[in-house]
Amino acid sequence: MALLPFLDRSHTIAKPGFSRWMVPPAALCIHLCIGQAYAFSVFNLPMTKLIGITQSSPGDWNLPELGWIFSIAIFVLGTSAAIFGRWVEEGGPRQAMFASGLCWALGFFISAFGVYVHNLWIVYLGYGIFGGIGLGLGYISPVSTLIKWFPDRPGMATGMAIMGFGGAAFIASPLSVFLMSKFSTPTHVGVAETFICLGVIYLIFMWIGAGIVRIPAPGWKPEGYVPPVVEQKLITRNDVYVYDAIKTPQFWLIWWVLCLNVTAGIGVLGQASAMSQEMFPGKVSVVAAAGFVGLLSLFNMLGRFFWASTSDYIGRKNTYFCFFALGTLLYCLVPWTGSIGSVALFVLCFVIIMSMYGGGFATVPAYLKDMFGTRYVGAIHGWLITAWSAAGVFGPVLVNYIREYQISHGVPKAQAYNVTMYIMAGLLVIGFICNLMIKAVHERYHMKSGQDANRAQMGVGAAARPAGA
């Protein structure tokens, strides 16, 4: 970006004395904004009453039509992360964060216009396409930077950022409801104005993050940090080029590991409210079910930090073994908790499952770093995000269709989820096997130093002196 030189990678190299602890808040500035996607459903109902105001009237949008906004955004997230991953990696985090903020805010502004003129296609273009690109760029932009700043605790560092994505809905949801209540009048639903406000707030927040972020100078390492002398089989010291990485069996095994772990969690997350009420009729009210969903989201967020940090000590492969073994056991226990009518045990099972769902997202960047090195980890992570898009389709489809099939064949509603739970457990067993098959990447995929210089051209040759921790 020659027009904006301060965004260049060379302008983001940290000076001596820069604290690496400034980088996680910079990453959180991005993830706390783009994670709003998880709270988009708060707009669904108001957007079905844009004409009728108090209730839907002819010409108003319906829920299935509105559901596509989120689906398009998540699909574009995966594809843009894959397409722009290399650009993000080579151009540096600041320009990626800046572009992400711009796309994300533009998505809201265009959507506001779409709501104002009542044209859903404009909203699809705004939130779905522009917002989706902002999501993809923003999701991967801080990952490799954090890994480079925290070579001693890469799991914890990326876990912190990705925790922000999981926690963003806690802020976005009440904020959106508050703004809509301020802008709505007896003759108008304040969705468009809320979109504009959110766009402005997120733009400022994300650009602050872009301003704070720095990359470490070449050769920098944390004070007192000594890289492990004894070589670990599953932690490489070499780098693998992004387009070579996606040719390795390891990449696709990790793709399936993530996809299966997410599939098992995402279907349940979408149906949690209905499931808790149907499995415990008379015991779980609508209000309590909403509380249950909130609790799941909280553990989804906390699990991201907890499991990713734990993986720094027990290793990534072992962490995923925990997810798959413990997850299988817990999914098999869920029907039993329903049969004995224990809400507490049911909740306990699912909060642990949700913590591992979040943990799967947060641990995977460090897993990729272990397998493919730090150089292109952001770009490789971008390609891996497509597993999330795939799981976003598999998970809800599995849960919804199996439930429908069970009910249509006379199974009581309270037991309609049992088969689904066993299928989820089965998916986790397959995930366990995929994880078991992951071995170190063959050395023929490792980058050579000359190849590195030709391909990367990152413009960090004029190295600044190492900065302090």
Binding site: F6, W21, L298
Partner: protein, 41 residues
């Protein structure tokens, strides 16, 4: 944008940066916990 010429990070900068992200997140978590308690009432 923070100054490119700065050489060190002050404690105040760290507090501001973490406060910027930590305070809204803590507020959101508190709201969610209050709602979640309804599950056990």
């Amino acid at each position: 944008m923070a100054s490119e010429n700065q050489t060190g990070t002050s404690t105040l900068q760290l507090i501001l940066a973490w406060g910027l992200v930590g305070i809204p997140l803590a507020w959101g978590v508190l709201q969610t916990l209050q709602n979640a308690m309804k599950l056990f009432q």
